[in-house]
């Protein structure tokens, strides 16, 4: 596997260069340097405390190209973005801008260099108008030094028209905009600073299909204007449609940079995971027992009319785009947002799950997607976290029995091979994989019959991932019914006995392991019907 494709001479370069030559090369760039990268990372390393996040990243972005950045969660993409946008500084290696090594002292320096980020979480000011959000921090001024509101609104209008958003009102407060429109405001904000480099972090993750098309059109027109775009996405189809080159990141290293035409989807996946899917997902299906959980016509908020059943010893995978209602479904079954319609049957009997406590009482456990916010109380110890869901049982006579609690934690540390100094260590000091094991230990301590795993391997390194998969095998062999929600299609396909696909809060289809091909699941996710 070649490690990298360096910027070649003009003859070997992709179509991005041709566009640049035809179009909007900045006047001050000398002709001989016109295909030189506008931003380049050379041999970047970066650690946060004991965690070595980037271990040798090389990357370059030419003007007028869309350079896709791919990699699993935790591969180091976000850290790389933060380096380029000036939020972090590398421990080793250099950031080059227009070929010159540059130290980006902060976000302001990166902005001055023409680098702008469209953040995944959309850093906007909800109470302010569209125009003001676009120009915050660099608003047009009058000669007196006061802000020039008419000109600000005019220029905001012009930028939005350039983005083909005539329907967006510059005086509207951002709090009233849809997600897609907020994203357009973010892009407009980048353009208002004359950005030459636009970093887009999962821009389509929260968008509906029609909005995705519009966004890709915007990306194309920006590329034609000579803007270099770093495009981070998990969606293969988009990557192949829009990008000129692809760089794959794995475990903090760049694995390869290839022209998009020179790679296949399968090749990309194997570069990203570093091994064959079959070896990575060692699903050992065992005997399947009685139906443990059945859901009939369940509805709550976004979730509409969902029906399915899970049997003992089975893993039911739930696939779907972000925003398709997967997590909402899980949280409805777990009593966080109790159902407003439909039925939940456990072991054949209809039950009401009106609270998390009730769910725990029905022996349902939920390992949440957002580990930091919902899964753990990270400033507290392993012992306190593992006992948190069963404190009542550990305190039969008001007082928490400290001895039993410590034994429980020690057993969990041994059973799940949690790398820690002991039960008294604070959870925040553990690595992502070990934190996830603490969450698993906490919920398995409740002795569940039904285990819902929401993105169980997000932000977990490959080794811990395999351990979690092995644990899932072991649990189903012991007769647990497991529901696994995952955004990583290979994981869903590799570990599930059946796959439930969600779309728009509804069940798009339930596929057996044999039927669940990437194409079939992908089609159901996008269209809402199983083929």
């Amino acid at each position: 596997m070649s490690l990298e494709v360096r910027t070649g001479p003009p003859a070997g370069a992709g179509n991005g260069v041709a566009r640049l030559a035809a179009g909007a090369a900045p006047a001050q760039v000398p002709p001989m340097a016109e295909d030189a990268p506008v931003v380049a990372l050379r041999g970047i390393e970066k650690s946060f405390g004991p965690i070595h996040v980037l271990r040798g990243v090389d990357f370059d972005l030419r003007p007028g190209e869309v350079h896709a950045l791919m990699g699993e969660n935790g591969a180091g993409k976000s850290t790389m973005i933060r380096l380029m946008s000036g939020a972090h500084r590398p421990d080793h290696g250099t950031v080059e801008i227009d070929g010159a090594p540059t130290r980006l002292s902060g976000p302001a320096a990166a902005q001055a260099a023409g680098i702008a980020v469209v953040h995944q979480e959309l850093l906007l000011f909800p109470a302010m108008t569209v125009a003001e959000n676009i120009f915050l921090g660099h608003a047009p001024r009058r000669r007196s030094g006061l802000l020039d509101w008419p000109r600000m609104r005019e220029r905001a209008r012009a930028i939005l028209d350039r983005l083909d958003c005539p329907d967006l009102d510059v005086d509207e407060p951002v709090s009233r905009l849809s997600v897609a429109n907020r994203q357009r405001v973010e892009i407009a904000r980048a353009l208002s600073r004359d950005a030459r480099v636009l970093i887009m972090d999962e821009p389509t993750a929260a968008l509906a299909e029609a909005d995705v098309r519009r966004l890709l059109d915007v990306v194309r027109s920006l590329r034609a204007e000579g803007v270099g775009i770093v495009y981070v996405s998990h969606r293969m189809d988009e990557i192949f449609e829009i990008s000129d080159r692809i760089t794959v990141l794995r475990d903090g290293r760049t694995i390869a940079t290839r022209p998009t035409g020179a790679v296949t989807e399968a090749g990309l996946v194997s570069m990203m995971v570093g091994r064959d899917i079959d070896r990575l997902f060692p699903r050992e299906a065992g005997p399947v027992g009685e139906t443990v959980l059945e859901v009939r016509g369940l509805g709550a908020g976004k979730v509409r009319d969902v029906s399915f059943r899970v049997r003992a010893g089975e893993i039911l995978g739930i696939a779907g785009l972000v925003g398709s209602g997967r997590t909402e479904l899980a949280q409805t079954i777990f009593g966080v947002t109790p159902a407003t319609s439909g039925e939940i049957l456990i072991g054949g009997a209809a039950v009401t799950v009106g609270s998390v406590r009730a769910a725990i009482g029905h022996r349902i456990a939920y390992v949440p997607e957002d580990r930091a916010q919902h899964g753990l109380v990270r400033p507290q110890t392993i012992r306190e976290n593992i006992s948190m869901a069963i404190l009542d049982r550990l305190a039969p006579r008001v007082m928490v029995e400290r001895g039993r609690e410590t034994r429980l934690a020690e057993e969990a540390i041994a059973r799940f091979a949690i790398r820690a100094r002991g039960p008294g260590q604070v959870v925040a000091q553990l690595s992502g994989g070990n934190q996830q094991k603490v969450v698993l230990a906490k919920w398995l301590a409740t002795d569940p019959r039904i285990l819902i795993l929401d993105e169980p391997t997000r932000g977990v390194d490959v080794g811990a991932k395999t351990e979690i998969y092995r644990l899932m095998n072991q649990l189903t062999a012991e007769g647990l019914a497991v529901i696994m929600i995952s955004s990583e299609l290979p994981e869903v396909l590799g570990m599930s006995d059946r796959v439930l696909v969600m779309n728009g809060g509804r069940v798009a289809g339930i596929l057996d392991r044999a039927e669940a091909t990437p194409e079939a699941v992908g089609a159901a996710m996008m269209t809402g019907h199983a083929a």
């Binding site: 850093l123 906007l124 302010m128 915050l136 921090g137 009102d169 005086d171 509207e172």
Partner: protein, 323 residues
């Protein structure tokens, strides 16, 4: 979200969320004046109305600064004590024979400098503003009584009595209130610093990413707030023939409440100084009407408490709908 549906709002193109609060307050003031005036005509005599507006103008002035502090995401419970201290400083200066202009100016400068320091402690040393200002409240309150022994300052020269001057028939505090509110509202809207205050209070992380220095903004806001408190202190000191060198009891609460009732969101990032000033006027109208309605003044605080609570709950409901 369509343009046509929003077309009528073009009448107020620069409308910010929260501006409607100002209209509500204005309506509430007019309603109270009308209703109480109908019950007791003496309430609407020009003399009484002037008293309502001028007697509590210093609260409205202080509320401007407080509005800035809360918009940028902080709080200051020490402002009442600061006003007490600055008023005393002003009185001591003039009775010790310093020129009148110094007695007017020094409190403003001292207030600015003191609160800049306070802002620095909050911004750079990361002491939560509620703790820092609670501590300062105690330092100022205790320090003032220790230093003066609670004695009243009298023998103030007539040319010192700024609050008793009149221009075009209106007492000067009214002018201060109107002009300072207008200037602050204008600058808040039309300067980069003004917008930075909203940005820091609305989304600190995003403001930092936009290259705004949050710490410097916070220090600046506290300094301005201190200077405005200095003006309020001079108005407070010069409205009577004597200065009680004690901290006006519960003044900080009144000022914070004026800001919050005026539509400044307690969570930061939203609000206007105009609303805060109007709310302060509303309070003095309510206080005055209790007297004219023969309600015991001892119920005033309870009425205010109910009012604050109602406004805060309404604010939370509004936030809930918006976000």
């Amino acid at each position: 979200m369509t343009t046509s549906a929003l077309a009528p709002r073009r009448l107020l193109p620069r409308r910010l969320p929260g501006a409607s609060q100002e209209l509500v307050l204005l309506a509430a003031i007019l309603l109270i004046v009308a209703v109480v005036g109908w019950i007791n005509p003496r309430f609407v005599s020009p003399n009484n109305l002037t008293t309502i507006f001028s007697g509590n103008a210093y609260v409205a002035v202080a509320a401007i600064g407080m509005a800035l502090v809360i918009i940028c995401g902080h709080i200051d419970v020490s402002v009442g004590a600061l006003i007490g201290v600055l008023a005393t400083i002003s009185g001591i200066l003039v009775t010790k024979g310093f020129p009148v202009w110094m007695a007017w100016l020094v409190p403003v400068l001292v207030g600015g400098a003191w609160n800049a320091g306070l802002g620095a402690v909050i911004a750079y040393l990361k002491v939560p503003s509620i703790i820092a200002t609670l501590a300062v409240l105690s330092i100022l309150r205790g320090g003032l009584i220790t230093a003066t022994g609670g004695a009243w300052i009298s023998g103030l020269p007539p040319d010192y009595q700024l609050a008793q001057f009149r221009l075009l028939g209106l007492p000067s505090p009214v002018w201060f209130m109107v002009i300072m509110t207008a200037v602050a509202a204008f600058l808040l809207r039309n300067t980069g610093f003004g917008r930075a205050i909203y940005a820091v209070g609305g989304n600190r992380e995003a403001a930092e990413a936009e290259g705004i220095s949050c710490n410097r903004t916070i220090v600046g806001v506290f300094a301005i707030h201190g200077m405005i408190a200095g003006v309020a202190a001079v108005l407070f000191a010069t409205q009577l023939q004597v200065i009680q060198s004690t901290v006006p009891n519960g003044l900080e609460l009144l000022v914070i409440t004026a800001a919050v009732v005026g539509g400044v969101s307690i969570l930061g990032g939203i609000g206007t100084v105009t609303g805060a000033a109007l709310a302060a006027i509303l309070f003095s109208a309510i206080g005055s009407s209790l007297i004219f309605l023969n309600v015991s003044a001892y119920w005033l605080r309870a009425v205010q408490g109910v009012l604050i609570l109602a406004t805060v709950l309404a604010d939370m409901a509004r936030r809930g709908r918006a976000g």
